[in-house]
């Protein structure tokens, strides 16, 4: 077990299994299939869950993201990113929380804030956890976060 102290961008508590991206998380590329076709049984199994659709993300491609503690350095790509995160949150298809090793980027911050102000229940977001956090955490580890930005990994 190890604890890391970050900055709560959107304060909250949660416990969830970790899902780790060591490279930048491309929000649009990751969520586009899962968001659009997540509820469409006729399309086939691939789109029945919130799987990551980003072919360039070797860590996450085709892994389910919903209800996971998504651990990442920062988000990249299209400026639809924050809006996509907001939609994922409002539609209940988002990760349980977002944990950034670096300072949060402008797109993810937008998504976090939009969720906090305009959605019913905010998604906890912690940033500035450091590279050591991203080196330590592995897929499936149990993550618990507190409102003060303390992240426990076990």
């Amino acid at each position: 077990m190890k604890q890391f102290k970050g900055r709560p961008v959107v304060a909250g508590k949660c416990t969830a299994p970790a899902l780790v991206s060591h490279g930048g998380f491309n929000t649009l590329a990751s969520f586009q299939g899962a968001l659009q076709f997540g509820d469409l049984p006729i399309i086939g199994k691939k789109y029945q869950h919130t799987e990551c659709d980003d072919q360039n993300n070797k860590d996450l491609y085709q892994k389910p993201m919903q209800d996971k503690a998504l651990c990442l350095p920062q988000t990249i790509g299209s400026t639809t990113g924050g809006m996509i995160l907001y939609c994922a949150k409002a539609l209940g298809k988002c990760p349980s929380c977002l944990l950034f090793s670096e300072h949060i980027d402008s797109l993810a911050a937008a998504g976090a804030v939009l969720g906090a102000v305009w959605a019913d229940s905010p998604m906890p977001v912690v940033d500035c956890l450091g590279q050591e956090f991203l080196d330590y955490v592995k897929d499936g580890m149990k993550i618990t976060i507190d409102e003060d930005g303390t992240v426990t990994v076990e």
Binding site: L35, Q36, G77, Y86, D105, W118
Partner: protein, 432 residues
């Protein structure tokens, strides 16, 4: 309203009044969103948006984006309308673009079934006009070109990086919705690329290629390396010159789009070429900047690492997109000549792969008035205003072998990347 809301940023009396409900509950929530957004970056204050017009990234009436459409309704009902007119990214559909019954059914009955409703929302919120759908709003033919030093509340990664780098405007990589909020209240949090410090380069990129690098691959390599940092690119002026003419601006448009989509670049400086690099030289490079050397081998390595997502890697291409971001007028002319010449050389009259060129409605309108329009039509190439990314953003397109010279389109879809010369060669030869 928002009385117990703790925030760090210093607001003017007027901004604080909006936050506390002086202009209604909806405007208060809009302001609260911007304040929290700024606080995440320790922004000390809000600064006025000084550009004449805004630009939004969200142009698509996707049924699944219901939360966004509901939010738009809330804004309209609450009187939170944009204080400035805005352009918006390209539309997702155009009947001229090759499709089939199943695709049309999915597009019109499922995916984009609320397009008309969303277009109406945009009009109510402040859309300039029905021709304002493009990712290249800064083209002269479109008319949303900010001045140097203007503070913008824009989104669309390729437009933001162009406005910052080539035009010298100041804009953060805002997300969709946030950019509209800035245009509604007329101010944005002061941080990042709005500040002098945030515009300093933290990477020096040394271009040491033996020929002019492909814009889309060079941008991709830099984006993947520097992520959201600001690069100062040396050695590219050898290939581009020192004048921001039409060809160079088109190159930088494509280069920038790749830096922004393959990474998260919002601003780059090109030595001896872009405005701030010309004014400040290496003075704009931050102390301790990291160095990335790009030569022919590095560009080849980057290109060879692009995953090919086609089920059958040897499939014959069925569709080709050129124009993501939208082509400039000069690029359209150049492509028209090259395709016509290529077909003539190879003894063909029509392109061998269904091909779509995309450009802004204003650019298309200008092009259609020239003899080149008939010349292009004769080659079989379709000219459209759509967003290729939105067209391909569905599972039916995933099973289709699509080729493109756009690194942005490659990143978000299953389309396969080829250089512009390779694309030209493929579409003007018999497909075997």
């Amino acid at each position: 309203m928002n009385e117990n809301f703790n925030y760090k940023m210093k607001l003017t009396d007027e901004q604080a009044a909006i936050l506390h409900g002086a202009k209604g509950e909806t405007m208060a929530k809009v302001m609260k969103t911007l304040v929290l957004y700024g606080d995440a970056f320790d922004a000390e204050k809000m600064v006025p948006v000084t550009s004449e017009k805004g630009h939004l990234v969200t142009s698509f009436g996707l049924k699944v984006m219901k939360p966004v459409h509901d939010l738009m309704d809330t804004l309209i009902e609450g009187g939170a309308i944009s204080a400035q007119k805005f352009s918006v990214d390209p539309k997702p559909l155009d009947p001229k673009v090759p499709s089939d019954f199943l695709k049309n059914f999915v597009f019109n009955k499922f995916m984009y079934s609320v397009q008309d409703k969303y277009d109406a929302q945009l009009e109510k919120l402040g859309l300039i006009d029905k021709n304002s759908y493009t990712c290249t709003c800064y083209m002269d033919e479109v008319g949303n070109k900010p001045n140097k030093g203007d503070v913008l509340s824009w989104a669309e990664s390729s437009a933001v990086v162009y406005a910052n780098s080539v035009l010298g405007a100041k804009c953060n990589r805002n997300s969709g919705i946030i950019e509209l909020f800035g245009s509604i209240v007329g101010c944005v949090p002061y941080f990042g690329l709005l500040t002098d410090e945030g515009r300093k380069a933290t990477w020096i990129v040394e271009v040491k290629t033996t020929k002019k690098p492909e814009a889309q691959i060079l941008g991709s390599a830099i984006g993947m390396k520097v992520m959201e940092d600001v690069p100062y690119v040396k050695g590219l002026d050898k290939w581009l010159g020192t004048e921001l003419d039409g060809d160079t601006c088109a190159y930088l448009k494509d280069f920038g789009a790749a830096t922004a989509s393959n990474g998260a670049v919002g601003l780059y400086h090109i030595e001896n070429l872009t405005p701030e690099a010309v004014e400040q030289g290496e003075g704009i490079v931050a102390e301790g900047a990291k160095v990335y050397v790009i030569d022919d081998a590095e560009l080849a390595r980057v290109k060879n690492n692009y995953p090919v997502m086609w089920k059958d890697k040897n499939a014959k291409p069925k569709l080709c997109f050129v124009g993501c971001p939208h082509l400039s007028y000069n690029q359209l002319i150049e492509w028209t000549d090259k395709v016509a010449d290529g077909l003539k050389k190879n003894g063909l009259s029509k392109v061998s792969v269904d091909t779509v060129f995309t450009a802004a409605p204003g650019v298309i309108e200008k092009f259609e008035k020239t003899p080149y329009a008939a010349k292009l039509k004769a080659t079989g190439v379709v000219l459209s205003y759509i967003c290729p990314l939105m067209y391909m953003n569905n599972p039916l397109a995933k099973s289709m072998p699509v080729i493109t010279n756009s690194n942005k389109l490659r990143t978000y879809t299953t389309s396969r990347y080829y250089t512009s010369d390779e694309i030209l060669s493929i579409i003007t030869k018999e497909v075997k």
